[in-house]
Amino acid sequence: MSLLEVQNLEVSFVTRNGTNKAVDGISFSVDTGKITAIIGESGSGKSVACYSLLGLVPRPPGRIDGGRALFEGRDLLQLEERQLREIRGRDIAMIFQDPMTCLNPYMTIGKQLMEPLRYHRKVSREAARARALELLEEVGIRDPASTIDNFPHQFSGGMRQRVMIAMALINEPKLLIADEPTTALDVTIQAQILKLIAELQHKRDIGVIFISHDLAVVADIADTIVVMKQGKVVETGDRAAIFQHARDPYTKKLLAAIPTDSKPPQALQPEPLITVRNLCTWFDQGRGSEPVKAVNDVSFDIHRGEVLGLVGESGSGKSTIGRSILRLVPVTSGNVNFDGTDLTALQGRELKQMRRRMQMIFQDPFASLNPRMTVYDTLAEPLLLHRIENRKTVGQAVLKLMDDVGLARAFVRKYPHEFSGGQRQRIAIGRALATRPEFVVADEPVSALDVTIQAQILDLMQALGREYGLTMLFVSHDLAVVRHLADRIMVLYHGEVVEQGSGEELFTHPQQAYTRQLLQSIPGRSLLA
């Protein structure tokens, strides 16, 4: 018998605008010692389904309409809150997506780790602490004895996720639910966490539900894969069946969204549009401490019409390079030459003139759009600010932009919160292209998006790049995405360029150990071969 057997689970949300069926009769099972992956894009109901098993969906507005969820012979959906609490954190534990926000910032990690053990097993403080130290050691926290009394903000994202995993495992649960546990992390960290989860699962012989939007992530670890779309299961199968003989068109679409190709080489103009020489951007840490050398002595050219990919993990300085070129952060030393003009020397009005020719697309389409401005206002603002259009002609220009980025004209009076993440990124792209720039810095433009949406946005950026004749600096931590889009790739490590070349060169003959490590971290690289 399976560890967990979910049958015809139905969950809906009752809102003022009517009832919304989030989970529509799904069935799946998890076996002891196996990993079941649930795959689907945001809003497909994959998280809601798992949260509702543990009574973690707030009711109201949530409502469980039917189904059964047998865990060790008991139907979880019929249990009282008190009985469910007994199971939560003891028999079934969870890890969540964003380790930055999922740990309590006001409590030391030691206290948070010991809490489930103290509450469920009533062990003494000393025993709980000893167990917490053991687990921290096991999940790979260095020197746990001296870090156990630190607060979450003193750890990096990857380390926090390790702490979350330790916390979930401290009661030795029989089932672990991992909700997008690596989505907020860099590729290299993601690879480490995936390996850790697989190891711990194997060692303890527990069942795992692994929720993700990205098939590639689970390609190496899942035993069974459940593909969800709009609250329904469209396909279930073991890993080999899904990856090699997917039957459902949606599963095929998900597989196709994994970027696996590299951009074919194109002939470049000999004259570079941008030359960066010995660029240094250091951040002062206050008196007495060494400045942080975010970008240290970096030189490169970008030719007209070229897409230069910039790859590195968080803190490698890749975003800072983009911002330094646009003069969004003060440059410490070095030159940035744009079409014959030294940008580092520009001030005031001249700088504003140049800004029109250079734009930026940001990572988080939720944070980078002003929530009080309609799409129309957002797109019209740069056009009016730079006097490209006047009050009479701006309306037409805005509609043209909306067509270009693939947004329906009817949306023009809507506010950002009314759009999905992908649509918002389209608005952000439209805003960046409004001034008809020659050069665009795209700072992780797809890393906050689901894979299928990511593929659409990448296609859009490629098409617009051709149409507008754009030169682009494409910043990302994801080598597979960069290879798909960029003509040339620079690998950045601790503020310095360690390797550069075409995607094909880097993937087939990486010269540096760090590049090789990045390549090995790409999820589902078996699919790429």
Binding site: C102, N104, P105
Partner: protein
């Protein structure tokens, strides 16, 4: 930490200097003087009095002479209560006002936090609407209306509590504290509701629930600290406001506190008394703001680490 406190204290000096200067000249611009009364005194007597209190000197000399005295902690003699210094009058009135302010603050915190937390736990239900509507009424109702109302109900109709005085009859401190604290209770209720609501929607609260913790532990151990930070940051300005705003309540309940001296001083053109109380209160306000900022920063481990450097 000490560096931070030192900087804040240094920053306070110009603030207080501006307060003194503006008050000094504003008071002098008001028509009339301390020795004008309905029954006019002879010119000689008035001149003698003015000479005694240095009022015959040019204004700027009076100003610097006052600053000089102030530097020694001397707030000068009162013009109205002859023979008593402003320092003595403040020393007599302040303990009463401080006690009243403290009780009012406790009332405000107790009622406000409970109402705010209760409302945040079940937003958009009667458990939210009822305390929050009461809070709105509390903010809108001025103390000169609420005070007499409370006196009517509890003092006269029900005859449970004394209606005036301070420390003479047991229980006479209850009504003034309630009156003064209620407006602040309302503010604190709204602040703590907003703070708690924000924290309760955080991801780490979901983590706490996923651990299987019961509701009371989720609220007390995981939410309270973060949710109460805005309230703590408000405590400084609130206590200062209670001290400065207590004169209405002191008048209603016949309490011999600083507030009453302050208002009377303004009517009497008791220049040194007005200035002295203003300086005293502004120093207190600066100190309490600093104190609550430190407390709020200390409650947040991230800020604690920053200031700790």
């Amino acid at each position: 930490m000490w560096r931070f406190i030192g900087i804040r204290l240094l920053q306070a000096i110009p603030v207080i200097l501006v307060v003194i200067t503006v008050t000094f000249f504003l008071v002098r611009m008001a028509p009339g003087g301390p020795f004008d009364s309905e029954k006019p005194v002879t010119r000689e007597v008035k001149a003698a009095l003015e000479a005694q209190y240095k009022l015959d000197l040019p204004l700027y000399q009076q100003y610097f002479s006052y600053l000089g005295d102030l530097a020694h902690g001397d707030l000068g003699p009162s013009f109205k209560y002859s023979g008593r210094s402003v320092n003595e009058l403040i020393a007599a009135g302040f303990p009463v006002t401080a006690e009243l302010g403290l009780y009012a603050l406790l009332v405000a915190l107790g009622i406000g936090c409970l109402a705010g937390i209760a409302a945040a736990l079940r937003p958009n239900t009667p458990q939210d609407y009822i305390p929050m509507s009461a809070a709105m009424i509390g903010i809108c109702m001025p103390s000169f209306l609420l005070g007499p109302l409370l006196v009517l109900v509890f003092g006269i109709y029900l005859d449970w509590l004394p209606v005036s005085g301070w420390g003479d009859i047991p229980g006479d401190k209850i009504l003034p504290s309630l009156t003064l604290g209620s407006a602040y209770a309302a503010y604190i209720a709204r602040l703590s509701r907003a703070g708690m609501l924000e924290v309760l929607n955080q991801d780490y609260i979901r983590t706490a629930r996923a651990k299987g913790l019961p509701q009371w532990q989720v609220v007390l151990k995981h939410s309270l600290r973060g949710g109460m930070i805005p309230v703590v940051a408000f405590l400084g300005p609130a206590f200062a406001g209670l001290l400065a705003g207590s004169f209405v309540v002191e008048t209603i309940f016949q309490i011999p506190g600083l507030g009453r001296f302050y208002v009377q001083a303004a009517f009497n053109r008791d220049y040194t008394m007005i200035l002295g109380t203003t300086v005293f209160l502004s120093v207190l306000i600066v100190l309490f703001n600093l104190l609550s900022d430190i407390l709020a920063a200390w409650m947040n481990p991230r800020l604690r680490a920053q200031y700790g450097k």
